[in-house]
């Protein structure tokens, strides 16, 4: 058995069919030190139990996935979405406190798509900014960082109207960087001709809340949500992206988040082992700390 990279964090979606207790047990047993959790399996056991299980696992908590989905115009459904995000902020704070030393109170935000029947992309994007503005006082009070995630443009209509790192940073710019940052996920931004510039900018502006990795490969599956692969199994240049993230000052854990029916059909033990192996070969070689320019 290999020794997993100390900075590897297993995002729970990668072992989607494992319940929380199983996910924690399998991850820790593999020698991985950190995990990112999803709301549904946490809620399945209840937040207090989840927090206790997490503490018992000895794992660091890296992100809570996910809030957002607040592109609806004003009304009861929007209010419900905002309230649900407030609950997610509390969950993230509780879980980060329950995780091992070095845990980070980060809530990943996926913007949401165009409301049914709407073609007003610009308006939907403004409502994302407004929603974040509403949530900032709650996040600040809870000590939670909201990590707005640009999703690949193929999801712009039905899942996330925030499509580029530049756009996420432009939205975040209105707020304190300790409260609003960005999620940098290789799958979503690898194609962007401006990505290295925007990663550097994110570093300068103190906005890289979390770095997530998985690979891109074609042909895409029939459900394009599920085309994420182990690092190294596709075409993403992890060297340039990871070096840019490190050069931008990011020193945190790195999550592997994979949505893939075939990987989900495997046992969680196999998936965590394979994730650690592929992380070790595709990501770890690029994690030597860059020499600080001051030294």
């Amino acid at each position: 058995m290999i020794t997993p990279d100390p900075r590897l964090s297993i995002n729970q979606a990668t072992i989607k069919h494992a319940d929380l207790a199983t996910a924690l047990r399998v991850t820790a047993a593999a020698g991985v030190q950190a995990i990112g959790l999803w709301r549904e399996p946490v809620q399945e056991v209840g937040l207090a139990t989840a927090a206790r299980l997490l503490t018992d696992s000895g794992l660091r908590f890296t992100t809570h996935c996910r809030g957002g989905f607040f592109t609806l115009p004003e009304g009861p459904a929007r209010r419900a979405a905002i309230d649900d995000n407030r609950a997610a902020i509390e969950e993230a704070a509780t879980l980060a406190a329950a995780g091992a030393e070095g845990s980070t109170p980060i809530l990943v935000l996926v913007a949401g798509g165009l409301p049914e029947g709407s073609r007003d992309l610009i308006g939907a994007r403004e409502r994302v900014r407004d929603a974040i503005g509403e949530l900032v006082p709650d996040a600040a009070a809870a000590g939670v960082t909201l990590a707005l995630e640009p999703l690949h443009p193929m999801y712009a209509s039905d899942r996330a109207v925030v499509s580029t790192l530049r756009q996420a940073l432009d939205i975040a710019a209105d707020f304190d960087p300790t409260v609003v940052g960005a999620t940098v996920d290789t799958f979503h931004i690898w194609w962007d001709p401006d990505v290295l510039n925007q990663i550097a900018r994110a570093g300068r502006e103190g906005r890289i809340a979390t770095y997530q990795v998985c690979d891109w490969r074609t042909p895409l599956p029939a459900d394009v949500l599920l085309g994420r692969h182990y690092p190294g199994d596709g075409v993403i240049d992890f060297e340039s992206l990871t070096s840019a993230v490190l050069d931008a000052g990011y020193r945190g854990d790195i999550e592997v988040e994979i949505f893939n029916e075939q990987i989900w059909a495997d046992t969680p033990e196999n998936v965590v082992r394979r994730t650690a192996e592929t992380f070790g070969s595709a990501i770890s070689p690029h994690l030597a700390a860059p020499v600080d320019s001051a030294s």
Copy 2:
């Protein structure tokens, strides 16, 4: 029968299964005034015959689809691709001369994807710039405009390493705008947070070689190449995009280019009629010439 918009051009891919003679006949019979052609059906009858058929149809020729696919490193395959593009330039010039008054000698360029086994996206993009540089003297001599087309980022790995209008304009900036412009296709760029700025920039820089329209709708089909829809059947805001293109000074024909198995299974007569109807309802209302700022 409706009277088609005088600026509507049927891109031949929309009636993919019609041979050239049929495509020309059906398009003209519907009262449409212009057509964009594809290389394969032209080559099927030979260029001289294609030119004669086009002249006989009385239709304007709007674009030739398509050149490009030149991301390979130096070697025989790259030389073959460059030579093939030279042939495409000659075809575009011949067909534009054979079309009715107002025809435009435009060759659409699709960059090509990552070479097999490569992860060097930046290198592939540089090779696109280099290839265009090689072709510019030929295009200039033939009086042809190369219309570099940014494709949706979901095609970045396997079809086009040029993914945004900004990127296409950055590449085009090295060359004379009468020789290198950009293809503005709603399907590929509607999601881009920077799209309206970049359309305005394209106008200022004299780079809008052609404007193509079709719609985006989810879920995407199993083959994501084929998810293009009649204008109005999806979520694209044609008002803002079309107004931006007109405000940027574009006064040319507007192609409808649709890849869609269901639409291809319909008769070309029905498809051309339906294209004219949907163009009339979704695009024509936005084509009133903007007031020139000088007037």
